[in-house]
Every structure is written in C-alpha cells, then in structure tokens.
Symmetry: C2
Subunit: 473 residues, 2 copies
C-alpha cells in the first residue's frame, strides 16, 4: 500500500544465490504449488511495512506439515533461506527476502483442527485468520480475543507475539498460546507443549517460538485458549478536554484494578480521519473507546467506576453503543484507523511507532511525544492500547520529501529513547523485524542479544530460517 | 524430613572432582562466606525430595549479583558445577549435587529492591520468599498471589515455574514474571526484559529462564506483577458425597468462566489428616475449599453461581470462613496438608505426583487413579489445584519396605501415562528435576528434548549450570 523504502535504508541486503537445482527439486516435489512467476514472488516479497527488497526466488504453497517439512529440508540441503508467509500483514518487514531464498505460503493451511470447547482450547493450522477462527467457534459460545488491527493469521500472530485491543484484559499471544507444532531448521517436526493449562515440563519452547519471527522454525499448528463470550458486553465512548485527561483516566482505571476489556485512546486528529473514512459523527476531541465484559451487574459496576474517574478528569458523559451492530461499527472504525489515516494524505506513507511503557509512565512518555510531533509539522495519527501502556504514532510522510522521513525517524528515535528511559520497550506488539534491531540492542543490552544469537546459531546453524530479522549474525 | 533414597535410584551420579585450587580461590574471594564445613554442605545438598547424593564441595553465601558472577566465573574456570540454593524447598531433587560442584546460597540476597505500586510491579532479589514479599508490599494495598505450599523464594519459584492455589485466577510464574536479571554460564550479567506489561522485542528470554531449573543461569533479580487486594474476599468449604461430585462441580465452574480465585480438592482421607494436624473439625468427606475475589457484589454473584452448581452435584451448603483469621487458618491447614500427611504415618516418606490435564479430562484422570491407589493398599493423601486440572497424590510409603516404593512408583507411572494420554503434562508445577526425565521424553518427544539439549549446550558449553537436571547431556 505504501511506496517502498529504498533498499539502501535496509539493515542488510545480501541476497544469497538460490541454485537452479533447488528450484528444480521444489518443482519436482510440489509441481504447480511451487511458483516462480514474478507477480507471485513480488506479492510474497512485501508486507505492510514501508520496506522493499528483491522478491524471493520461489513461492511454495504448503497444504500440510509434511509439505512444510519437505520444503525446509530441501532449502536446508541447499543452504537457502526460508520465509514463512501467512497473509502478509507484518508492519516490520518480516516477510522480505532480504537474504534471498524461498517463501513458504501457509495460507492454504487454514483448517480449524479441533475445538475443545469444554477445555476452552482450539487447535488450528497456521493459516487460519483471527476472524475466521471466531466465525468457526461462534456456535460454542466461546471466542478468541486477540485482535491486531489486521485480520492476521494465527501463525503470524504467534510469530510476532501479537496482541491488540483486548490484551489489557485477556493478555497477548504470549499468554494465550498453549502449544505449537513447529518445523525446525532441519525439517524435523516437534511439539512444544500439551493442552494442560500449566506445566513445568522443561524449557518453555512454546514461548521461545512465540515472538521468534520465523527465525527458529516454521509454525505449523497452534493451540490457543478460548474464552466464554461474556454474558454482558457494553461499549462506550467518552470525550476529554485533552489527551492528558484521557491518559490520566486510563492510568487510574488500571491502577484500581478495574477488569476493563478494552480501553483505546484516539486523539482528535485521528477521530477526524476516522469520521471521514468510516462515515461516523464522533465528537472530534481526544477520546477513550472502552468495552466492558462480565455479568450484567459486573459490567454495570465497572462502567460506573470508570465514569466516575472520567468525570473527575473532565470527561463527557459516556455515549453507549447499545446494540451489537453499533459496537461492531465502532470497533471496525477503530481497527480501520490506520487506513483512514493513510487516506487522509493521498500518496503518504505511515511510519509507525510501537513503544510500550509501565502504566505510571504513560503520560510522561506520550505527552512529550505529542508536543514534539505537533512541533514537527508532520501530520500524524495517534491511537493507543493505553490500558497496556502501548500506543502507536503513525507519522504520515510524503515519500517524495526525504526531509519528512528524516524528521519522522528522528521523532521515532526520541520516542523510543524516552520509552526505554521510562523502563519500557521499543515494541509492544509489532516485533523487531528489520526496523528495530538497533533499538533492541539499546533496550536489552549486548549480552541479551548475544544470548539470542547463540540460541539462533545453535538451532539454525545454516542461518536459513528467516535470516536477517531481529538481529544479524 | 524424609529418609533419603539410595543413590543407585538416581538417574546419574558422576561427581566431578572439585580442584583444591578452586576452593582456595573461592576462600580468597569470599573468606568466611565460602564454607566447606560438612554440616553446611549437607544442608545444601538436599531438598524436600526423597533423593540423596553426596553434598557439594563448598557453599558460597552470595550477597549481591557480583558475588554470584564471581563465583560462577571461578567455577567456569575450573569447569565445576554450580547449583543455586534459596531455602531448599524443591520436591524434585533440583538442589542435589549429583555431579558434584559448589552450591551458591542466595538466601542473603533477600531485599525487596523497588516497589512500583502505581505499575503493579515489584523487583526483588532472588532470596526473598513469597511470605516476606507479601509482608513488605502489604501497606501498598497490593499482593503477590503465587503460593506454592512452602514459603519458597522468588528465585526458586521462577526457576521451577511454580504456581499453587491462586493460579486458577492469577496464573503461574510463567504469566507473572516480567523480567529477570541472570548470571549466565560465563559469569556475565544480563537482563531479560523491561517493566512494560507486554513486549515483542526479540526472543522471550524471560520465559526461557523461568522453569529452566538453574540449568541456564543463576537468577539474581526478579520483577513480578502485583495485584490490588480484592475489595472483598470470601472463602467457603463445601463437602460432597464423592470425589467425583467435587470434581464435576469444579469442571462446570471453570467451563462457565466463573473467575474463582481458588478451588482446591481435598479427599476425605486427607481431611482427616488435616483435622488431626491443624486441630480443625472439618467434615471428613471429600471437599472443595474455595475463595472468591472481587467487589462485594461480584463475590456474591460468583458464590451464588458456584453454590447452585455444587448443589446440583449433591454438595452440602457452603460453610463460610467469614473473618480474615478464620480464612488464614483454613488456608494454612491446606498448605500444611503435606506435613499433616507425613505425620499420619510416622517414619513414612511421600512420593508426590504432579500431573495436570485439560479440565474436561480431570475426572477421567483422577477417578481411575483413586481406584488404583485404593486397591494398592498404600496409604496416600490427595490434594489438588483442580481448577487448573492439577492434583497431587502423595503415596505414604514405609522406606524400609522396598515393595511399597515399587508399588508407589508403579502407581505414579500409570497416572503419568494416563495424564499424557489425556493430553496433559507429567508436571504442573514442581518441575522435572531428577525424577521425571523419562516422563519428559514421553511427554514432549525426542525432538523437543533434543532442542532443549541443543539450547543447553549452546548457552552452557562446559555443562556447569546445575547439570544432570531436566535431562542428561
């Protein structure tokens, strides 16, 4: 969607040769399910990030675990990189073939394998998307809460440790993946856990794989937790005289332990964009978009507490989305904020930030960054999973004006440094990918990154699993 | 407390030599804080398991991270094992010097370093115990919920991925550790995370270390989540006509998504032992011991739902522990069930089981095992964190009668196999240690265990970090 970044801005483009013999072997094994058509390769060589790299040499459409294992074995034999591909919604360049190699498309592995409603678990193939999953489990009265904006796959969401608007109550992929099936760098198939709710059985390979961005293996099955659909759900919006008032309301709600299901900040600027894009008439002021889950009495109690806090900070009376349709419309508008913003400045490209800080530091982190962004003159959108201390600026730059990119990157740099100084992280939910390698070192220190590299070298000695992401070797 | 198991029952006793030069170097560095007194070494060479091994060659009393790092560096130089020691409450032989080496006692590293009440986090040294922590944060209105029976240290609880009675609502150490400071096998100090609530910044080293049982590094700082003390807490006991009725009540409570804080099963046998030990007059029938946390209205609502379900299964009316003192007395009795059981058969030793299965399989797993245990004639206790599908049999054997040990091990073996067949795990919360290595392979498969070994070899090439636990190399 965005115009691509010039190659020279990428941390590493050293495309390895893909031998013709590998392509021949893949074609022999997969027939028409191995494509070398340029249009197919190009489609698999990009994602929602603003980076660009030459496309992969081939795309294999896997239909089951054995397909994935065989493709990896062949790639290993020829020491050629392997990049898993779901539906291409990464924001950080995870899917780019920066070192060449082949893309393994798992989008056809899209079956829900077993719903264990009585255990609140479900096992799916990696190409199942979050919306598909919720559609398929609907009749059980259960739902899967993790919702990154895009309709991403469960495989990709696991690989990037994704979260979204419900994480404040239900946690992230870190807390919600129970077990994985993974094809390792040698093409072996392993299982990383059971369906038991807890376990102390050896190293936590599940959580080592969750967030490893395809660099340690290809995820071929995912078992996640489900939750009973709440007896009652209410959504409300509340406008505030300032971003600060909205943020301070959020901090107090969290500190009081109110089990709010969603609490999203949208600044007045972004409300305007959302109104234009989704044909809504929201008051164009900083707002919190909230949702409460529980029993009817519990929801009422939560909402009353939050209303009281909000009004202390000058919040307007809540406006309730009383029907499920109204609620869906509101949340769809929220999830489309990114697209709304992009459309607000034709031809622009968004540079997204993803810092996350301890809740008490949220105001310090956010407000100074708003001041800096306003002063820069670059248009931006601002949305946030503020209950988790996580928010996203999207600086809307004109790709034809290098100065704007420079200013935006400088703003991002300052923001990340501020978040780290406040004991936060450079990435709450998008992952490191190509864009945050230096930030990762600043955040965790050389020692921790070197430990990650040591694990990578041990589990993938040929460096074929999505190489050049998270760190370079 | 238990008579030790003969050495030949242990999976591996190959004590490496500890060179006199290392002891000299440790004495030069730590003076009287390095002890070679037999009584000190023996105290550090055992735990609450029934295993025995020759004691470590020396014990270093560390007072800070630099002490730990220096001790590890010296041990590394001489290729001698290092075993971290907190307060010695492991049930699985984690603290035994099966390959010789030195014990690093961190119990003097017992400071609460920083309470961030407004972020619901606290950072502590590894020797802080869970009761000490709760005492020190009391004035903030927050608490730390994880409660293995013993008053274990936060370092040890992290290392074994511990949980306890509150896990059904608050999760285990897996969900509650935010970040660690760790001394690696080379004596380097790393940090594995920040205080942000969520992060996608690279491999999840925190969760790799949590549950690694000292085999990848020594934990020197732990940052965990805290929770607001609930506005209302009620505890109740409910007696049932059968274990099955109690278990089926639990299953339904969990499946309905009632956010119960604790739901513990105690069989009639164990109630009798607890009554004798704790001078209580509990009805000697299978019972559930429950606790509800929330707002006054929320607690009432939860309790009503559970009472309704219980009465469907023939449960007696709830008996409420209305004062905090009564509640503490009840939970202390529950936590002392292990000791009560041991005392019920003077001179006996307990062989503990720790299986955990998906909640829908709980009745299948538990009831058959009760039938088998009853048929064996071996006395036993039975307690369970049944809301998580986790329970413990303790077979109370006479160590002078080898036949009894044989029967108990056979019962355990059948139980574990049953749990694995039901998609569960051999250990819900105690860890693998020395006793469950074979079960681990059966549970996860050779491939996953080999991946763990590969990580171990890469991060600890000299195999000095608590070697011989979880797996042998």
């Amino acid at each position: 969607m965005n115009a691509p970044l010039p190659h020279h801005l990428l941390p590493e483009i050293h495309q390895r040769e893909t031998p013709a013999a590998l392509i021949d072997a893949l074609k022999a094994r997969f027939a028409e399910r191995c494509s070398t058509a340029l249009v197919v390769r190009e489609q698999h060589g990009r994602d929602e990030s603003s980076f660009a790299a030459p496309p992969p040499a081939a795309v294999v459409f896997a239909e089951n675990t054995t397909d994935v294992a065989d493709a990896v074995k062949l790639a290993s034999q020829y020491q050629v990189p392997v990049i898993p591909f779901g539906v291409g919604t990464s924001l950080e360049g995870h899917l780019l073939a920066v070192q060449g190699g082949i893309s393994i498309d798992v989008s056809r592995m899209n079956k829900v394998l077993s719903i264990n409603a009585e255990d609140l678990t479900v096992t799916v193939q990696p190409g199942v998307t979050r919306k598909q999953l919720n559609e398929e489990v609907k009749s059980t009265g259960l739902f899967f809460p993790i919702d990154p904006g895009a309709d991403a796959t469960l495989g990709g969401m696991s690989a990037t440790r994704a979260s979204g608007t419900n994480a404040v109550r239900y946690g992230t992929m870190r807390e919600n993946v129970l077990a994985l099936e993974v094809v390792t760098a040698t093409g072996e198939v392993i299982r990383t856990g059971t369906r038991a709710k807890k376990s102390s059985a050896g190293y936590d390979l599940t959580r080592l794989m969750v967030g490893s961005e395809g660099t340690l293996g290809v995820i071929t099955e995912v078992t996640v937790k489900l939750y009973p659909l709440p007896e009652a759900i209410s959504a409300a919006i509340c406008s505030f005289p300032s971003i600060e008032a909205a943020v301070r309301t959020t901090i107090q709600v969290i500190q009081l332990g109110v089990p709010i299901a969603r609490v999203e900040l949208i600044d007045s600027n972004t409300v305007r964009m959302v109104n234009a894009h989704s044909k809504l008439g929201l008051r164009e002021e900083p707002m919190l978009l909230m949702e409460f889950h529980g029993s009817p009495a519990g929801v009422k109690e939560q909402a009353e507490t939050v209303q009281e806090i909000a009004s202390d900070f000058g919040g307007q009376a809540f406006e309730w989305a009383s029907t499920p349709e109204e609620r869906t419309r509101l949340w769809t508008a929220r999830h489309n904020a990114y697209f709304a913003a992009i459309q607000s400045r034709p031809g622009c490209r968004a540079i997204s930030t993803d810092t996350c800080v301890p809740i008490s530091r949220l105001a310090d982190c956010l407000l100074e960054s708003v001041t800096e962004a306003d002063a820069s003159g670059i248009p931006y959108f601002l949305v946030g999973h503020v209950g988790d201390g996580n928010f996203h600026f999207g600086y809307l730059i004109d790709p034809m004006l290098p100065k704007e990119r420079e200013v935006a990157e400088a703003l991002n740099h300052k923001l990340v440094q501020r978040a780290l100084d406040l004991e936060g992280t450079c990435t709450g939910e998008h992952g490191v990918g190509l864009h945050k390698m230096d930030f990762l070192v600043t955040e965790t220190g050389d020692g921790a990154v070197e430990m990650m590299r040591t694990i990578k070298r041990a589990l993938d000695p040929k460096n074929i699993m999505n190489p050049g992401k998270i760190f370079t070797l």
